[in-house]
């Protein structure tokens, strides 16, 4: 190795460190990757929020691409993403199932009355027991479940237009393509 190249080694090492630290700036330690991605969605059976006679269970996810959205009414970020969920619901093409997590039932119903209901079904997880099975540690969280019941992706934090357009919609379309193939 020539002398000049050798002199560059510390610089290269330093730049490598800078790149690593810079990458670290962009990652969010609050986003803990879920070990459930790629695995079958955990079984559940819970009462439905708006229909006291009905239960919502894993069977309701079968055969459809589903966004399982974890929310509760006093969660600010959930309210922030609500509008986007409404838009996605109007757009159609994907089933949105709500998991009303550790919430007060009346407050949840009231919120939907005010802002609209993007969900085709809402399961009530008052004790948070199903939330634990799904590895939920905050709201909002959204799982993309394919027609075979496999969790394909977990969105931690609110869905906004960017997340939907760049991440979730392409994935939903990809899953549908696979279904046709």
């Amino acid at each position: 190795m020539s002398k000049y190249l050798k002199a560059l080694v510390p610089l290269v090492l330093f730049l490598g460190l800078v790149a690593l630290l810079f990458y670290g700036l962009g990652t969010d330690p609050r986003k803990v990757p879920s070990p459930l991605v790629g695995k079958p969605a955990p079984e559940f059976s819970l009462p439905a929020l708006l229909d006291p006679d009905r239960t919502v269970s894993s069977a309701d996810l079968d055969g459809k691409v589903t966004l399982l959205n974890v929310w509760f009414s006093s969660c600010v970020s959930c309210r922030a993403e609500h509008r986007e969920l409404m838009r996605i619901a109007r757009e159609g093409g994907v089933q949105i199932v709500g998991l009303n997590w550790k919430d007060d039932k009346e407050a949840a119903v009231e919120m939907l009355r005010q802002f609209g209901n993007p969900y085709s079904l809402i399961a009530v997880d008052e004790a948070g027991r199903v939330g634990i099975d799904w590895g939920v540690y905050g709201a909002p969280e959204t799982f993309v479940v394919d027609p075979e019941g496999i969790i394909r992706y977990k969105q931690i934090g609110p869905i906004d237009q960017g997340v939907w357009e760049q991440t979730l919609r392409p994935l939903v379309e990809k899953i549908k393509e696979e279904g046709r193939a």
Partner: protein
Amino acid sequence: MSSPWKAFLVMGVLAGLLATSGAGAYTLEEFTFEDPAQGTAFRALIEELRCLVCQNESLAASQADLAEDLRKEVYRMFREGKSRDQIVQFLVDRYGDFVLYDPPFKPSTYLLWLGPFVLVGIGAFLLVRSLLVKRRSPATELSDEERRRLQDLLGTESNPVQSNREESDRDQTDRDSPK
């Protein structure tokens, strides 16, 4: 309001705050075991598990809602007679290795566990090598032939090269000595 009264009021408020915060702090007393050894094991386990909401607190220390739920869940499993490993696996299956303060040794964590040793090893190798090279390097003394050539190249007038021997060999009165 006179100032002694004000001070008295402030003290009262502070005392009140202290009292309520003390009452608000949770204890692990709600978790009871017939066998004290089991209680110790339970406490040790929740100390080793990370609360995902606060991240830098253990399940034992955290007052987050989720930590409360998970403590209850761990307690329930303990009461059911599940082993420590089964309980840890239950949580890892749902939340990933991140719940463990002590990450397991497996392919995805090799870099984490071995990286520091590899770096120290590389550092030690470079250090030893450079020390050996230094020792093996040829004597810094110049032969008479070399010294003569050096002086030719540099010219004697502004020759900045000084070695002890040169100083003794040559007359230096006409040169500036470095201060």
